[in-house]
Subunit: 178 residues, 2 copies
DNA sequence: TATGTCATGTAACTGGTTACATGATTGC
DNA sequence: GCAATCATGTAACCAGTTACATGACATA
């Protein structure tokens, strides 16, 4: 699957929940998939136009206030299911924090500790976000909530791991001579 | 810091260990930074040319067998230290596995379990790789090994977290009706 | 009437991969 | 002499962001 169709998955997925505009789709993606996915307008609008040309989404006149609302067609729903079944394209790893720490000798223990501290703070923030999302999802009677909880759980595990790693690394750095 | 200079960090970093060719730099990056960084030839050669034009690296005639070997200049070493101190550009999150699981209702529990299984296998492979790297680094008397171990530890924590999440998620999926 | 939010779209740019072309050197 | 590896480089393409231009609608 090309990278492109990953954006298609996100947009089709958003519209599978309920019909909405491109603007709303973007908001929905950043709000509910935000901790593991992102899309910009520059991707969403061209994608939406292509999906419409392919007959996968169609303008939904009902309930419009301003601008256009799109909804999935039957073909669109099939396509979403197909795309979800395709192999996951692997993104080459690029972790700026670890790149810095690997060459930490050029930085010195204190500057490295700063880098780790920042990673630790990001993990703490993430953990708080996950807690809030989990609370929301758990009080949602939607039967799909199980799937959402699985993604939340992934965020929690990753954040807790990063936290533990940061504490451990700070201890290691503290034992180093300047 | 622009994304571009992240590649500069990787290349300057590789050359800071010892002088080498672009080809060797790429191999060094995939072999020793492979679990958290990647560069392609299409990036390395233009970067190397730019670094040379900026006087940060210089051809090193000594010890050449074929092709050209580069080494850091004093300015290059300073530049590396500066770049390492710059804020880490954040990459927008894009996790294909979680994107699929979030819309898992369109897939069904079994197909979702397959997705999780793949993630679990990747984590296991990663854990084995980390074990091998840790063994190598721990038997290396280099004083910088502490920094390398910190990056290895990050990989281990992340892999173990993914493993725990996968087991937990498989259990959740198993309890779901088709 | 001014402000903020909703909304759409595009152009320029960036960072990056992939595929290809080319050739030198090494070892069997 | 042949195959593998070392080595350099570029062109085409791709996904994606950012910045900008534009304007409708609601409301204070």
């Amino acid at each position: 699957m090309s990278r492109q169709s990953q954006t298609e998955v996100a947009v089709l997925g958003a519209l599978s929940v309920e019909p909405m505009s491109g603007y709303a789709a973007r908001r929905a993606i950043t709000e509910t998939l935000g901790h593991f996915w992102s899309e910009s307008f520059g991707q969403i609008y061209p994608t939406l136009a292509r999906l419409e040309a392919d007959g996968l989404v169609t303008p939904d006149s009902a309930g419009r206030t301003s601008g256009s609302t799109y909804r999935l067609t039957a073909a669109g729903r099939r396509r979403l299911a197909d795309l979800l079944r395709e192999p996951i394209p692997s993104a080459p790893p690029r972790n700026g924090t670890l790149l810095r720490l690997f060459f930490g000798a050029h930085l010195g223990p204190e500057a490295c500790a700063d880098v780790v501290h920042e990673a630790r703070d990001r993990a703490l923030t993430s953990l708080a976000t996950m807690k809030a999302i989990r609370f929301e999802v758990e009080s949602d009677p939607d039967p799909n909530a199980v799937y959402w909880l699985i993604t939340v759980s992934a965020g929690e595990h990753a954040a807790r791991a990063q936290l533990a790693w940061a504490e451990e690394s700070l201890a290691m750095l503290a034992g180093l001579p300047d």
